[in-house]
Amino acid sequence: MKFRGLAAALVAGAGVLGSFASSATAQDDNVFKLAFVAFLSGQAAESFGKPAVQGAKAVIDALNAGSLPKPYDKVGFGGLKIEVQLIDEAGGATKQVEELRNAFERDHVDAVLGYVSSGDCLAVSPAAEELKKLLVLFDCGTPRIFEENKFKYVFRTAAHGAMDNVAMARYLVKRGIKVADVGAMNQDYAWGQDSWKDFKGSLAQLEPEAKTKVELWPKFGAGQYGTEISTLLQENPALIYSSLWGGDLQAFVLQAAPRGLMKDRVVVLSASDHVLPPLGNKMPDGVIVGARGSNGQFAEKSPINDWYVATLAAAYPGLIPVQPHYRAAQGLLGLKTAIEKAMAANGGKKPTSDEMAAAMVGIEWDAPPGHIKLALGDGHQAVQSNAAGRSKWDPDAKMVRLVDIEHFAAECVNPPPGVKAADWIAQGFPGAKCD
């Protein structure tokens, strides 16, 4: 009997010692330690976590081999090889704050790049700021990060979620699609609530005659949408809008399409490009698709995009790149730009967090989705161009192609500096520069 208790105590003791041992990792000035945080398990793993990790790994391997086109041809970050540590974003915001602090204080990483979930982004940003360490958010969508706070050490290399829905509304206008009423189906949490609010607000400005007929709020992760589909069929709105994503969106399409919900009406799926590869020909044609940026098939031709597509094809044969792949790449390239700018200023040494944070303010760089500029949030928040298109199954290539693509310049769908996104939409997009 006593051996069992002792055994447990020994396991525990080993655990404690082990964590102390790992704290003995030394600072290495020849290597840049980067922690990359994304969902490795749970509901966002398939749709956003795994592709982000795929993209990040491909870019980091290429960086360490020095095989990127100019101006990214230096090995790693300014000659420093990148050593990456993966952290699983699953487990809740509390765990993420602990893991961030562990990464910086125990494992001595030099910067953290990550976070898909808005809740996690909001939770970890103050922690990084307090530790005075560089945190680069690469995926989460909430505008609140820099609209409600001022940070010195936190940056976001992708545009926030408001532009997705402004672009969707503008697409309708540009394509001459007028609708009398709208039915909405969004997951009942911040992402769904904010997306619908932004789309509803944008549509109210651009097509005031469209009325909201029904608003449905399925639980996040519900997976069964029979009743919602019946309700939408019954209310029969001319346009259905949904910000659903991942497994939920795939289930919704699988259950809605056979019942004819997506026929004879306009269907707008604001962030859906990532479900096109798995769904394949099960995705009906003619659905208006967004990718939260000029990602994947929306990316306009450029040397860096050509390089990225080729790199991904070599590393993952048969993979169709979608938005998480692109955001991971733009995050890494933005970080690289900032670090190399800091190293140019400090004489080529490995930069400190202060030097990196100072260098990163307001930078602009070219990435696979196009030109990115940290124009909002006092030079901490990125803006980028957006795009929308329609789905069309290509039986020869065996993939869903995006056709009828329209691009929207960054200044057209992002608020100008100093204006909150919600206010900007409510006021009718003052200062927007659209062609």
Partner: protein, 326 residues
């Protein structure tokens, strides 16, 4: 059972040890320990209930109430003092507990557990839809002051919060120990064994359980406020069933005999979770599950039973050495 003086002496010594340890520990361990103590307080509340035979799967309700009370006080009323915020958290938990306790008085066993779980999920749902409280994204808090003093720098702020948390923990633990050894506390044990006999002997089981529930709720509120201050962020996940389940796990892991075991268990769990996450980023959940199984299997009485297990062997070896020296 050392008596009140003994308990207070132990409390003072424990605080002194923690203060020194906190100074020597690396920064990341200070946060881990702070959070562990905050969660340990909630688990202590469950231990209080467990002694009476009830297990609540909804302590997340009070954890969340305490956290949001502290959060709203800081954001809407500008209250920045840690002691005040934690007191507000305790009061929030207390009031909510006092309201809910009579509703739950008639339930026992798994039905008590499921009803408390349902209540916490309703709170979760309400918070998810309350945009003014941040919805599912939650709210951020800034660093608190300690009796007027604002520590400079992340390391000092962390240590100050750890000291404050240790103080609150030690006081709560001492009070709980005193309660456990009191007549009402021992009545809980009796109620757990056989309620009908307790009623027959003239005590009220409703009162015993009610008071235990309110104490647990207050502890939950304190834990919530402390977590909110150390994380700087609150969100509705504080009321989600997995959070509540974690507290129940801590209570079972520590057993209901020793108060100190709750906090040792809390630190152990945080370290194992962090250790698994670092070495098994793809399978940390499975690693945690295996650890939980092993602990449940090999320590059926919880960590608190370890000292009792070691004692008989000491007595045996003492006797053996006495025989030898004869």
């Amino acid at each position: 059972m050392a008596g009140i003086v003994g308990t207070l002496a132990a409390a003072v010594i424990a605080f002194a040890v923690l203060a020194v340890a906190g100074y020597a520990m690396p920064n990341w361990l200070v946060l881990v320990a702070t959070l562990a103590f905050a969660k340990g307080l909630v688990a202590l509340g469950i231990v209080v209930l467990m002694r009476g035979g009830l297990v609540s799967f909804g302590q997340g309700t009070f954890y969340c109430a305490g956290a949001y009370a502290a959060g709203m006080a800081m954001r809407s009323f500008g209250i920045g003092d840690a002691a005040l915020l934690v007191a507000l958290g305790a009061i929030a938990g207390l009031i909510l507990g006092a309201i809910i306790a009579p509703l739950l008085a008639g339930y026992r066993g798994i039905f008590f557990a499921t009803l408390t779980l349902a209540l916490s999920m309703i709170v979760y749902g309400i918070l998810n839809k309350t945009y003014s409280l941040g919805g599912s994204d939650g709210l951020n808090l800034h660093a608190p002051r300690f009796f007027g003093y604002q520590p400079a720098g992340s390391q000092n702020a962390g240590y100050a919060l750890f000291l404050f948390t240790s103080l609150v923990t030690v006081i709560a633990a001492a009070l709980c120990r005193i309660h456990f050894d009191s007549v009402r506390g021992l009545l809980s044990h009796a109620a757990r064994d056989n309620e009908i006999r307790v009623e027959y002997l003239g005590a009220s089981v409703r009162w015993v359980n009610g008071i235990n529930f309110v104490i647990a709720a207050a502890l939950g509120g304190i834990g919530g406020a402390l977590s909110a201050l150390s994380l700087g962020h609150i969100d509705p996940d504080f009321a989600f069933w997995t959070t509540s389940g974690e507290f129940v796990f801590l209570a079972i892991l520590s057993g209901y005999m020793s108060v100190a075991a709750v906090f040792v268990a809390a630190i152990l769990l945080e370290l194992v979770r962090s250790f698994s996450s670092q070495y098994f980023p793809n399978t940390w959940q499975g690693a945690l599950g295996v650890f939980l199984l092993l602990i449940i299997l090999f320590l059926p009485g919880g960590l608190g039973s370890l000292p009792l297990r070691l004692r008989p062997s000491r007595a045996k070896s003492a006797r053996a050495s006495m025989e030898k020296s004869k």
